[in-house]
Amino acid sequence: MSSSIETPLHYFHGQQTGSGDAQVTIFESPLCGHLNLRGNPQDEQFLEGVESVVGVKPPTTAGSCASSGDISIYWLGPDEWLLLLPESRRAEVESELRNKLSGHFSVVDVSGGQTLLNVRGDGVADMLKKSASYDFHSNNFPAGRCVQTHFAKATALVSKKDDGSFDLVIRRSFADYLASWLLDAGEEFGCRVVGGGEV
């Protein structure tokens, strides 16, 4: 008998609200690695240590993100970042960071606590407006920005991608609630949840 690990929203995959073609797509990524990284941004050794593993220095500008290859790094606070990476590289990157960094730092694997959604489509900006008071208009929130904010009374890390879609990192414990919320908010545009497959 085989067992499989499923993403937090696997039972939502294929669900749709609204009639006609879905203009908004909520794509739940396959399981990926989430590492919470903390360290001193004034410490050049720390920044270079992270760069040697990840390929890019942790962004020190508030609310910005960077990526290198298949790893993305998001600013969470002045000394805190989130690394998103493929599940297959999670253990390797975590131990590499521990080897390369020294002094006062922390690396915590929070993969089991969150899930990554990508929302895209014509109505996506309007759908987000219903959910948060933050201004996600492209004048205020261009590609490469990320923000942690209240989202439908829960919290989310929202970032804008180069292709105009939005990435949402949400808590596993709120995933069911937020997926239901997003399907409801996207009903007028036609909204569909799709999944990235099971491991």
Binding site: A62, G63, G77, P78, E80, S133, Y134, Q148, H150
Partner: protein, 108 residues
């Protein structure tokens, strides 16, 4: 709804993202053992309850999860500045006659 400028996120966010964390600039006594019960009680429980300019801590709980200080007018709710915990406020209340006489509790 207040709009509060977070000095770490470097932008104004809605009040709902923040949590009020009490009066700012209250220093823990260096040697608590040597305080009288009254002095310890003052430190723990008594606040200025200012009418007008007030320095207070806010916690950006839904954002960067950092504490910082805000100067707010408790009459108009106007927020005059946000600054780091390590800094001193740029806006201060005008000294009142009673404060100069030392009647205000916890006046440092």
């Amino acid at each position: 709804m207040l709009h509060i400028y977070c000095p770490f996120c470097r932008e104004e966010r809605d009040e709902e993202e923040f949590s009020y964390a009490g009066e700012a600039h209250i220093q823990r006594p260096l040697d608590p053992e040597s305080l009288s019960d009254e002095e310890w009680g003052d430190y723990l429980f008594f606040r200025t309850n200012a009418k007008g300019i007030h320095h207070e801590m806010w916690y950006h709980i839904a954002g960067c999860r950092r504490y910082f200080n805000v100067t707010r007018d408790t009459l108009s709710y106007q927020i005059l500045e946000s600054y780091l915990i390590s800094q001193q406020p740029g806006v201060r209340a005008k000294q009142t006659a009673s404060a100069e006489q030392g009647e205000q509790p916890n006046a440092n």
